[in-house]
């Protein structure tokens, strides 16, 4: 309410100032400069509004000075730009030598900062880069300042990009909400309603507020239109929220899936309980970290594409560690699952401490390359981050690749043969020990791939694996041992269910609930979702 009043006052002030100053504005009018440096915050905001509306390139240095805290006030009647070494008068540009010692900082508040951003954005509307213009119009969209209208009109006249045009229209509509013409207001309301943006909702809401006894918007029909537009926006926001929840669920599912896929081979198919599986993921993540650093220092030109190099490296490093584990330890423990469990836990401890000794106990930095940062805005309140989208796609590719390997290659055939009937496979000439090693290396390599993907969204530290081991075992157990499809469904179900539950119960309770539900579920169906029934099922 009060902010609205302040905004109206500001608008009036800006209009007045703009009128008197516009004729002679070759450079920022001296009174505006003074106002910025010495006025109170309301006056500053007003001055910024004027400067923004003018979009005068000469005002840019002044705005930058304000942003960088270089604009100082001297004695309340002189504006000075002081860059730390030299000082000059902000209006005349005359150097002040020596630097005066009575410069006062301009104390700005958050509202001024917002107005300053808007002013910069106004300048950026004419920028040649599309991204800059997009960002600028997004900033301006929320201001709803009628003084910006001429500027927006001008931008609309020259703008070619359809997305920028759409956003400009919304910004224009926002600025027209208080237009004297009723039809214009109605049109503006419709545009805002169609935009579905949360900011537009607030702007529309302002029409329904009461200013004393009367409504801000006097016309009941217009108010009704605003109300409808708001409920329209609300519907879209809700849809966006549900879609967002589903997306984070699917994203979590893709991560769970990647983490569990390797286990689906080593545990699901081979029956090896590898408690160091999480550490193989961790090693994949560290391999990614190393590739990133190597490329940054030795081939900066390729840095943008480091994940593409990291994928095979992470796979190979984890596969190698896995193969070594299999040869040295696990091989001697086949048929003794509980002992395998303990031994691989020991391996995991050694690996964790090894990584700690090599890289330190702190998390290391793995950056997203530019093409994986940011996201695509699907709806006003739904941004799908590129890195998450990439991981979902990656998980799908890995699943497809793995099922191809298992069903279409000789290795896959051998793996299935050995896991189904070891002796018979040995009898028909399959080198079972080699197949074991290769299959275990494959599962470990997939864990490395998971690590490479996880490095793009989470922290990379020595304990990374520990946080995934229980989850991945739950996915495999829930999906049914020996079932690739079961693993996929279980990951999807767990991911989405967990995220939806998080919305209701909070993260920790959701996690506990999911664990308890899995425990209960497994009581009911010990063989998992996709049970292998029959005489041999429990042997």
């Amino acid at each position: 309410m009060t902010s609205l009043l302040a905004r109206l006052q500001t608008a009036a002030l800006v209009l007045a100032l703009g009128l008197c100053g516009s004729a002679t504005l070759a450079r920022p009018a001296p009174e505006l400069v003074l106002q910025l440096a010495t006025g109170d915050n309301d006056a500053r905001i007003a001055a910024l509004g004027t400067l923004a509306a003018s979009a005068d390139p000469d005002a840019l240095p002044l705005l930058e000075a304000l942003r960088d805290d270089a604009l100082k006030s001297r004695g309340g009647n002189q504006a000075v730009i002081y860059d730390g070494e030299t000082a000059r008068d902000a209006i005349t540009g005359k150097p002040l030598v020596p630097v005066p010692d009575d410069l006062e900082d301009v104390m700005t508040n958050n509202r001024v900062t917002v107005a300053l951003d808007a002013a910069f954005a106004a300048f950026d509307l004419a920028a040649p880069e599309r991204a800059t213009r997009l960002a600028a119009v997004r900033t301006l969209q929320e201001s709803g300042d009628p003084a910006l209208l001429p500027l927006l009109d001008k931008a609309l006249a020259t703008e070619k990009d359809p997305q920028v045009i759409d956003l400009l229209r919304v910004a224009q509509a926002g600025a027209r909400l208080h237009h004297p013409d009723r039809a214009t207001r109605l049109a503006a309301i419709e545009t805002l309603g169609g935009s579905g943006a949360p900011g537009a909702r607030a702007q529309l809401g302002s029409l329904l507020e009461k200013n004393g006894a009367s409504f801000v918007e006097a016309d009941a029909a217009v108010r009704e239109a605003a109300r409808k537009a708001i409920s329209h926006i609300d519907t879209w926001l809700e849809i966006g929220e549900i879609a967002g929840g589903l997306f984070t669920g699917v994203s979590l599912a893709s991560i769970l899936l990647l983490a569990a896929l390797g286990l689906a081979i080593t545990y699901g198919l081979m029956g090896v309980i590898n408690m160091a599986h999480g550490e193989l993921i961790m090693i994949g993540a560290y391999a990614t970290f190393l590739v990133q650093n190597l490329l940054r220092t030795h081939a900066p030109g390729l840095f943008e594409f480091y994940p593409l190099f990291a994928i095979p490296v992470a796979f190979l490093v984890s596969a190698l560690v896995g193969a070594t584990m299999e040869r040295l330890v696990i091989r001697h423990l086949y048929g003794r699952p509980l002992e395998t469990l303990l031994a691989t836990w020991g391996i995991s401890l050694v690996l964790i401490q090894g990584v700690r000794s090599l890289f330190g106990a702190q998390n290391v930095m793995v950056e997203n390359p530019a093409w994986l940062s940011g996201g695509v805005q699907v709806m006003s309140n739904l941004i799908l981050p590129w890195n998450r989208l990439a991981i979902i796609a990656f998980a799908i590719l890995v699943v497809m690749g793995m099922s191809l390997i298992l069903t279409r290659t000789r290795l896959g055939l051998f793996v299935r043969a050995v896991t189904q009937n070891r002796q018979m496979a040995g009898c028909v000439g399959v080198a079972t020990p080699r197949v074991d090693t290769l299959a275990f290396a494959l599962g470990s390599g997939v864990a490395g791939l998971a690590g490479c993907a996880l490095a793009q969204v989470g922290n990379v530290g020595p304990d990374l694996g520990q946080s995934y081991i229980i989850d991945s075992f739950m996915v495999v157990v829930l999906g049914g041992v020996g079932q690739l499809a079961g693993t996929v469904y279980a990951a999807l179900g767990l991911g989405v269910f967990n995220k939806l539950l998080e919305g209701v119960a909070g993260a920790v309770l959701a996690k506990i609930t999911v664990l308890v539900l899995i425990i209960v579920f497994i009581q009911k169906r010990p063989q998992g979702l996709f049970a292998v029934k029959g005489r041999f099922a429990d042997n």
């Binding site: 309980i273 408690m275 330890v329 001697h332 423990l333 699952p337 509980l338 002992e339 395998t340 469990l341 303990l342 031994a343 836990w345 020991g346 391996i347 995991s348 401890l349 050694v350 690996l351 964790i352 401490q353 090894g354 700690r356 000794s357 520990q466 229980i470 075992f473 739950m474 157990v477 920790v508 309770l509 996690k511 506990i512 664990l515 308890v516 899995i518 425990i519 209960v520 497994i522 009581q523 009911k524 010990p526 429990d538």
Partner: protein, 367 residues
């Protein structure tokens, strides 16, 4: 083989060893700690009393683990939850016994004041009574084990499946106890205890009494374990471990047998936890971490599964080495522990005691 093993463990020599142990823990330690002056070479410092007391608690846990894993073939990776619940049960009493001497001088435990709670949650009611706290120590973990075990064993979950589910159980409990709202002090758990049954908790006399109680509990657990594993019930458990379906077709229902030993084992852990907390002076959710629970398994494995006495030795060895290692070379402890896990499963599957046993029997054959 089993027969000779059990016979040797509980022959006259073993009874003599038990008597020596009783004499050392119940007479010698108190004398050396309390009566011998601190500057004497024979003085046993309180540090050692506490450390050995702590290790004896672990030994009880290892013994409890041996009953389910060594004798019945059920590997639990969640025994930490029972230990911790027992500890929390005792901790609740100890927190209440602080009275108004906490930082906030409130009737409520400090962490509740900090959370702005005005009244005790219902499950804290009555915990100011020592006996009720003791009942909680036994009942809560016992009930949890019973219910969990009933459902798990009824659906015939066994082997690695069971292990992983117990790990998930303790992990879920850890997450639950980490929350402040759960009402058990969140991350920090319980600490800063002042007194137990009116005695100052840090007083050497109190510590020696707690030490003696722990030693007694350990001996009691050992004798109870011996009674069970030498009874026909013990042989049924071993039979379940070897061939569960044969047990069923012989007319035994394995469910109550497993449930009995599983619940008993959980209660033993809880008692150990309750003895541990006043001696160590802290209990927090870290005790429920999966890593802690799996470490219990390695104590048992190092000493020798299915030998009763082995796990006690294993718990003593590993924890003795640990307390030295983590002071001398903290960064190498995990390497050491990890290697122990690997080497014992590969080359010492029967543990120290099992290995000694087979050496002895070979010698006898030669002689």
């Amino acid at each position: 083989m089993n027969k000779t093993l059990t016979a040797r463990l509980f022959g006259p020599k073993a009874w003599a060893a038990l008597l020596v142990f009783a004499a050392v823990t119940l007479v010698m330690v108190p004398v050396l700690n309390l009566a011998v002056p601190a500057d004497s070479a024979f003085h046993l410092s309180t540090y050692w009393v506490t450390l050995i007391g702590k290790i004896m608690c672990y030994a009880i846990v290892a013994l409890a683990m041996d009953l389910v894993w060594g004798y019945t073939g059920i590997l639990s990776l969640g025994h930490g939850i029972f230990f911790a619940l027992g500890g929390y049960g005792m901790g609740m009493y100890l927190m209440r016994a602080i009275g108004r001497e906490g930082n906030y001088q409130s009737d409520l435990p400090d962490f509740m004041v900090f959370l702005n709670w005005k009244t005790l949650p219902w499950y804290w009611q009555g915990t100011e009574h020592f006996l009720w706290a003791l009942a909680l120590v036994v009942l809560v973990p016992g009930l949890l084990a019973f219910v969990f075990g009933y459902f798990a064993f009824r659906s015939r979950i066994k082997g690695v499946y069971f292990s992983i589910i117990t790990q998930a159980l303790t992990y879920a409990a850890m997450l639950l106890f980490f929350r402040n709202e759960t009402g058990f002090g969140g991350n920090n758990g319980f600490t800063d205890f002042k007194r137990i049954l009116g005695f100052a908790i840090t007083a050497p006399e109190t510590r020696v009494v707690l030490f003696g109680l722990t030693a007694t509990a350990l001996m009691g657990a050992l004798l109870l374990g011996r009674f069970i594993v030498t009874s026909k019930l013990g042989r049924v458990l071993a039979a379940i471990r070897d061939a569960e379906s044969r047990v069923m077709f012989s007319g035994y229902n394995p469910l109550p047998y497993k449930l009995f030993i599983w619940t008993l084992s959980a209660v033993l852990c809880a008692i150990a936890g309750a003895l541990y907390v006043p001696q160590v002076g802290i209990i927090n959710p870290g005790e429920m971490s999966p890593a802690n629970s799996i470490e219990i398994a390695i104590w048992t494995a190092v000493g020798g599964r299915g030998t009763l006495i082995g796990p006690l030795i294993g718990a003593g060895l590993i924890n003795g080495v640990k307390s030295w290692f983590t002071v001398a070379f903290p960064e190498y402890w995990l390497y050491f522990l990890g290697l122990i896990f690997i080497l014992v499963t590969l080359w010492l599957p029967r543990g120290v005691v099992g290995q000694l046993q087979s050496w002895f029997s070979k010698k006898e054959k030669r002689a």
